[in-house]
Amino acid sequence: MESVQTGTYKVIGQGLTRPDADEKVRGQAVYADDFHVPDAWYGAIVRSPVSHGRLKGLRRNPDFDWSQVVVVTPEDIPGNNIVDMMGRDMPFIAYDEIQYVGEPLALVAAPTRHLAREAAANIEPDIEELPALCTLQEMVAQYKKDPEQLHELSAQTIRKGNVDEALAEADMVIEREYSAGHQEQLYIEPQGMVAIPEGDGTLFIHGSMQCPYYINPELCETLDMPPEKLRVKQSAVGGAFGGKEEFPTLIAGYCALLALKAKRPVKIIYDRNQDILYSTKRHPSWSRYKVGLKKDGTIHAIQCEFLLDGGAYTTLSPVVMYRGILHSAMGYRCENVAIDGHVYRTNTFPNGAFRGFGAPQALWAWESMIDELAAACGMTPQAFRLQNCLRLGDATPTGGLLRDSVGSPEVLEKTLERCGFNEKWDRCSRGKPGERKWYGIGVSFFAHGAGFTGDGEARIKAKVALDLEYDEQRAPIVNVRISSTEMGQGTCIIMPQIVADAMSIDLKHAAYPMPDTFKVPDSGPTVASRTAMVVGSTVYSAGQKLKAELETFVSETLCDGQPVVLRDNAFHAEYDGKQIPFDEGAAAYLASNGPLRVYDQFKLPPHIKWNQKTFEGDAYPAYSWGCNVVELEVDTLTYEIDVTKITAYYDIGRLLNPIMAMGQIQGGLIQALGYAAMEKIEVKNGKYDADRMQTYVIPTAMDGPEMDLHFVEYPWDHAQPGAKGVGEIPMDGLAPAMANALEAASGVRLRDLPITPEQLFAELQATQPRSA
């Protein structure tokens, strides 16, 4: 087995403060709406009022003064009217069939925001309305009746062993269905972008985003522009959570099309209401399981159907579904697995990326199911998990071998022990009458694939660069040039930490400037818990290359050809013991040769094998592992549910910056609490009902329970420094742990997210009718 020797780390592993903390806390960070662009016009969008229909025409009000306004319709698009994502089925501007409420029908720009909106309101579409399918519930009902009638956007299967035979052999077969609704990312600042036509024929796109290299190629076809003419730069981002992964291409496209026609900068900043109505959300999901068990509690067969409500177009939904099915039977030993994943169209805004990317939906169902399976064979949830959980050397549902860095079962054992699960499990209320409060405890255990799903990393081949150059004070600096963005998670501190240790220099000599596609190579998108592991390890090896280049230079030019080692921020000559501080050596290089750029590229370890057609092999280069225990109380007077404590252990590989990592876990758990118990959107006449922060309720600090959170470190063995993913795993386990705890408290099982007092009331009324 190939293994990289573990380095010794000085800066990595320290909870250092991020360099952007001060300006963000003081409100000085420059977000998309903060920078002043002289002569910029404002854009507005004419949107479809119907969920599904055929566009017959657009009528401009002849009484409106159109002289001050620029209008873009499909005829004005220089290239193809296609948003170049996975399906190539989405137009920038609808021209024939309309697929959702809010779909753009025309774009408008004007000198003021108000005038732009007024102009948009003076364009009236003529639409022939068609029947629409707008909700997960309608979609699932149709799936059960006749799936052929649904419009399938994507499908994929996983097969291992023989499930039909295994179900027949099983001592018992348990069938269950679970579902979950939309979740809005609700980042701090809404979507916003500006497009600026430059004098040299380039188009500069600047705004709120997490993946600059999505926008660049995706817009080139539409604008009929070579990639080198399109410059994309990220502004400060106050959170994205996936909501700024693929969506910004759309708003960037609207700005770009308007700017090219108006021949001036055009800016579009959504307000919160527009942002919730007309941007992506987490896919609503439905899972149906049929699981065969042996009497001794062995899981003998897992059959699963996993459905996502894709919204109107394909966008990234196939990959969300892939991650979903890859996590739908993950974590436990089973020789016979059959999973069918589907994404179907509904007539709503396309659903998209959101922290966890299909895994939270899958694990919500699967980890609820595990408790139901344990109960069916008369075991406690903890004993069932300990008996069946995957361990080092076991195979995943796709037959991938867990070769190394496996935090299971340690995270499970440690969490159960830490919170005193066994003893607390025995005193759960289970709906006992006459109690003022019901107490319950529940557990979830899960793995989260680190890095892009399936063949993603092999395709992306993440490229990174390090630039040795002068900073503004004319001091030598190593700038990390990657397209991975800072959006709150701490990229801006972990990357300099990695460079510092890779080169053995002080942290102050390394920096992370915000990505600009004219300066950074394509390191792939900032998604999939991949930045620290994939891009971070490549930055580390680039750092080692840069170190070697400088050592050679210093040896030849300053040390008479003696071997030279850069160590502890100084070049050490081997024979005469001469020491040259890093910045002197680097300055000498710059003075003699000018700036130095080194590149490196991510390479998967050779043993990682994956078949993208059959979904067999190693779906991910590594997994992070986690265990959540939720304790809660139900007020029996009102059925209000109060999560009082979360105990958790995580294995995210090498901890690069424990403070940042803990911040990800804490914040992610609060976001997961919203998903589990608060955040609810229903589609009414094709429109989201909760379309403001007044009605879309997320947790506040007051809702945060006591948290007892810990890490165990199983570094990824195949690249230094050995981080795995932390970004998404906090979203994965809270909802099922809460539903499991709620059953222990109340005696009833809820299978739809979010879990609410209203739902508990309805379920308790149904199972134990009582007189009012």
Partner: protein, 288 residues
């Protein structure tokens, strides 16, 4: 109609008399604007059309004080939620009102929002309404024609409707103090623990003597077009011994007394049931 805040004309009268003068004339009349925590949101979102004129009343000194008489607390209409929750008189004599004010919005909203604004907004989810109603006090409104007292229980006439004339401004509230030995309880069910708009909320005032219920007043919000006093429940238990029998009867009667709806925040059947449960909780709390 104004279409932007810039177009809206906002007057800042020097005193109450000047404000009433502006309100008296159709040409100068405007929407009274206090903290703006409801209106600004409704205007911006288009829930309410933006008026051409607004008249700021929050700064008027006549409306900003809390005073005490022998039997009542007199609260100016521009008193903020923050003032309410911190007022000794309110905490002591109208404790459920102080508790309710403490659950409205966050600090920013509590610092801007006012009692008069919340009452004039006439939302069935207005968190101050139940505590005001159980005091059986008066809303004092004024115009150039003079002042008049409207009993609080007659002030709200329908969903977002009040008994005020278009030239009138709420100037203060006269809310009788809780009797000696009585207690008040406020309870709010929201989707989260802070900054929540209520699913159901309510207040009660309870006086027990000799194990009997001498006085019970209860009002519940978010279960009807206006916040409601549950008179049938009050009558049912007054004079009865405080025991499980009375509590069960009150719970059943309360659930039957309200006609809630399904909306974005909750479900009708849950609201109906939980209204009874809240009344049970109010009475059980006093049982100890």
């Amino acid at each position: 109609m104004a279409t932007t805040f810039e177009e809206m004309n906002c007057a800042f009268p020097a005193n109450l008399a000047e404000a009433l003068e502006l309100m008296s004339d159709e040409q100068t009349r405007g929407r009274p604007l206090a903290g703006g925590t409801d209106l600004m949101v409704q205007w911006e979102s288009g829930v309410l059309p933006m008026p051409e004129r607004a008249i700021s009343v929050k700064h008027l000194p006549e409306l900003r004080t809390i005073e005490e008489s022998d039997d009542a607390v007199i609260i100016g209409s521009a008193v903020t939620h923050m003032q309410l929750r911190r007022s000794d008189a309110v905490v002591r004599y109208l404790p459920s009102l102080a508790d309710a004010a403490a659950t409205i919005g966050g600090y920013q909203i509590q610092t801007m929002g006012t009692v008069g604004g919340s009452v004039a907004n006439a939302s069935p989810a207005g968190d101050l309404a139940p505590s005001i109603m159980i005091s059986d006090g008066d809303v004092i409104v004024a115009s150039v024609r003079g002042e008049r007292a409207i009993p609080v229980n007659e002030f709200w006439t329908g969903y977002r409707k009040t008994d005020m004339a278009e030239d009138e401004i709420i100037v203060r509230f006269r809310l009788p103090k809780m009797p000696e030995g009585a207690c008040e309880v406020w309870r709010k069910l929201g989707p989260r623990k802070a900054q929540a708009i209520s699913k159901v909320m309510g207040s009660c005032r309870l006086l027990i003597s000799d194990g009997h219920i001498e006085q019970f007043r209860v009002a519940i919000g978010s279960v009807a077009p206006v916040c409601v006093r549950l008179r049938a429940v009050e009558e049912l238990v007054t004079g009865k011994p405080l025991n499980e029998e009375a509590i069960a009867a009150a719970e059943a009667c309360a659930a039957e007394s309200v006609k809630p709806i399904d909306d974005i925040r909750s479900k009708a059947d849950y609201r109906k049931w939980v209204t009874g449960r809240m009344v049970r909780g109010f009475l059980e709390q006093s049982l100890g």
